[in-house]
């Protein structure tokens, strides 16, 4: 059976588990700058084109301490963790910090950074979330121009069109490779656990893109095209969980019930790498196109549109992956997800797709309770939807 090779995976896992340590090492070895950014729509290509390392700031696994005094407890685990990391000085490795998504909780955390580290350049380039209007594209282009100017000022460099075109091609190549892994998993030719898939994607948010691509190529080289992945009978789709990664132990509990996760629309999953930046034309304009197109490719409830629907997309993707059911992972207090969830439920029920909603938290996830719920869910699928497998 095909499995991912352990040694390259260890390299990726180290970066995914400790982005700050990776950034510190990169700075020391490259004598370069590192710019931190936030999910879910920041175009990292701009930072790369400036010669710096773009790092999407991740949720820390550490319990929240100082941040508890700066952001209320009814914020999502990611934003509370960001506030905590800022208060503890763990974000000091970043030479500047840029946000592009208007999430009210995220901006609360970003304001904590401005409070805790007033000397740190922090910029918010608000990418318009209403996607259908004629004035959205020029507005987005203007904000991308702002990001360019801020990065140039912070780093004392110029971002040229040529450099940006090169960065776009480099990131597209990386995304294409990651999508190969999704296709291998979807087709059953390679068994990739959900937590390993998270490592593949999450590490790409942190690592030098060329280094990351090289590791992905090693992994692909070691896959035997003649073998399959030896998938379990019940196939599941994972949906949701924006901005940050669900805890690997939760994903492991799900698959320990004897199921295979065959696809997802998680942010630290397919959503992140769904769309390439156009390689023709003006590269700055291409980033605006990318922003608008990725919501068409993988609709997101944080964007307002009447052109596409996440629920319809989800139903289509579940069918495409031949999954028998879906587990919706919702980060507790994530408001766009809470807003959209009833529409998902309606669509899944009307298409007779079994679903299970699991809320996740920064700390204190009830793993054993979760195991029982997932086991029951899987048993229901076995009995009702794939009787031949039971």
């Amino acid at each position: 059976m095909n499995r991912l090779s352990p040694e390259p995976m260890a390299t990726l896992r180290a970066a995914a588990d400790d982005p700050v340590a990776y950034s510190q090492t990169w700075k020391a070895t490259h004598e370069g700058s590192v710019i931190g950014s936030f999910p879910m729509n920041f175009p990292s290509e701009l930072v790369h084109a400036a010669g710096a390392l773009p790092v999407l700031i991740q949720e820390s696994r550490a319990p929240i301490t100082e941040g508890r005094n700066l952001l209320a407890e009814f914020y999502c685990g990611y934003t509370r963790s960001v506030a905590d990391q800022a208060a503890l000085g763990q974000l000091d490795v970043f030479d500047a910090i840029v946000a592009a998504d208007h999430c009210v909780q995220l901006l609360g955390a970003v304001d904590v950074i401005r409070w805790a580290r007033p000397e740190k350049p922090v910029h918010f380039a608000q990418l318009t979330s209403a996607m259908d209007d004629a004035w959205t594209r020029p507005r987005v282009a203007g904000r991308i121009g702002e990001i360019v100017a801020e990065i140039e000022t912070a780093l004392g460099v110029s971002i040229t069109a040529d450099a940006l075109s090169t960065s776009i091609r480099t990131f597209n190549a990386n995304r294409r490779l990651l999508r190969e892994f999704f296709e291998l998993r979807r087709s059953g030719r390679l068994r990739i656990t959900a937590s390993d898939m998270q490592v593949l994607v999450k590490s790409s948010m942190v690592m030098d893109v060329a280094e990351h691509t090289a590791v992905l190529e090693r992994l692909l080289d070691e896959i035997d095209p003649a073998e399959d992945g030896g998938l379990d009978a019940v196939k599941l789709y994972l949906s949701g969980h924006f901005c940050h990664a669900p805890r690997p132990e939760l994903l492991d509990v799900i698959e320990a019930t004897g199921v295979t996760v065959v696809d997802d629309d998680l942010y630290t999953g397919y959503r992140y790498i769904s769309t390439d930046v156009p390689e023709d034309g003006d590269p700055f304009e291409a980033l605006s196109s990318w922003y608008l197109e990725r919501n068409l490719n993988a609709p997101c409830p944080t964007r307002v549109t009447t052109q596409v629907d996440w629920d319809r997309y989800l139903v289509d993707q579940i069918a495409r992956s031949n999954a028998n059911g879906v587990i919706v992972l919702m980060a507790k207090f994530c408001e766009p997800h809470m807003l959209y969830y009833p529409e998902l439920r309606k669509a899944l029920e009307s298409n007779k797709i079994p679903s299970l909603l699991i809320e996740t938290e920064h700390e204190g996830n009830p793993v054993e309770t979760l195991r029982t719920r997932v086991e029951t869910f899987v048993e229901r699928i076995r009995r009702q939807h794939v009787p031949a497998l039971s």
Partner: protein
Amino acid sequence: MTVAQPRKDKTRRLSSTKVGGKLVADYWENIFTAKERGKHVVWYNGAALNPLFQAAGLEWCHGEAFAARLAAQHLEVPAQAAGAEYGYIGELCSYARTHLGCAVLTHQNSNRSETGVVGLTDQQELAGKLPAPDFFVNGYAGCSTGQQWDAMTYRVFDRALPLFNVSIPMLWGNKPDAGYMRGEEWVEVSKYVEGQLRELIDFLEYQTGRPFDWDALSESMSYIKRASELRLEGMELCRQAPTPATYWDWVASIAPINFLPGNQDLVDYFAGVKAEIEQRITDGVSAVENERYRVYFDGIMNWNKLGFLTRKFAEYDVAVVAGRYTHESFWQEPQLIDVDNPLLGMAQHYLLCPLNHGLKNLQELLLRRLDEYAIDGIAFHSTRTCRAMTNPQSMLARTAETERGVKSFFFEGDVADASFYNDELFDSRLEAMLEAIDVQRMRSAV
């Protein structure tokens, strides 16, 4: 060092605000019959876009306003139950899930009637009385949930009705020259939003099939501008101690200034409020019997507990004299409105929503109010499902303490969900703050 113990009702609410209550009740009763009268109905959320709807000859339903009304009347449960049954989780903005619950009920009711007229049986419950919309307009500043909300209302109504979005950028303060109503960022986004209002007017013309009445807009904005001036003059009179009116009186005046039609009735209402305040000053009548502490309220209103909190603070000899929700909102900069060409000033007010500022602006505004109203302490309403209003509160508390030595306390509650309020915690924390203020006073007296 003493702390007053809770005792009798020591509030003296303005009687003139009852007129506003009648105006608001009449407004909603009128809305409920919009379909019978053959009117086009717009559902909207966020900014006070109603003068545009008024000039377009529409009837308008402000979602948050209706959710607030339900909560203030303790009638929110049927809507929230309908929302919960539909699938909305209890940690979601309670304004949104109350209003979306109303949407579910209205959609169910209107599906039973081809005319969209709500049946008599269903009118037993206020939550189900909103007339079905013809289209939606969203213009939400500061809160991403608010921006996403009407995309969901659109889906509750089967994706069948038009939706127009006004995108209002945050006043985040990226540029060094950024501040409250100043700097390059302020000028740029003002024009950007004004441009979208022109697009909205085109949309309204298309939806109604009628040319937009610019004269009607100027007329209604002239009334709103005058009403706003009177409101601010009344607020300014409350800088004196003891205050002749409280934050709670201004809360009672939110609905009129936020969404009632711009007309002479609106001006008369605020003239009446101001006149009563002036009369109180003449007569030496204070809004709270034995005012000993002057407190600023930061946070969105807890509509379920409006009367309760009014009495509660007064029992401790606390006059809540000003607040972010009342004083930094609702046409609060009337000098920006050019009645002959009102769109820019309207856009600027939409930007000045108290949810729409970065920390720097909010610090500036808070310190200004602390000075203007001689504030002794701050009550931070840590609003469980309103992250937009709660966002910077911890840092604002530290700013107030550091810059002005002003004490504060936090209490948990919510805009429209009573279950998040904890009375025991409220009492102990308020008492602790008042004790700290007493200690400060004793020390300064030595």
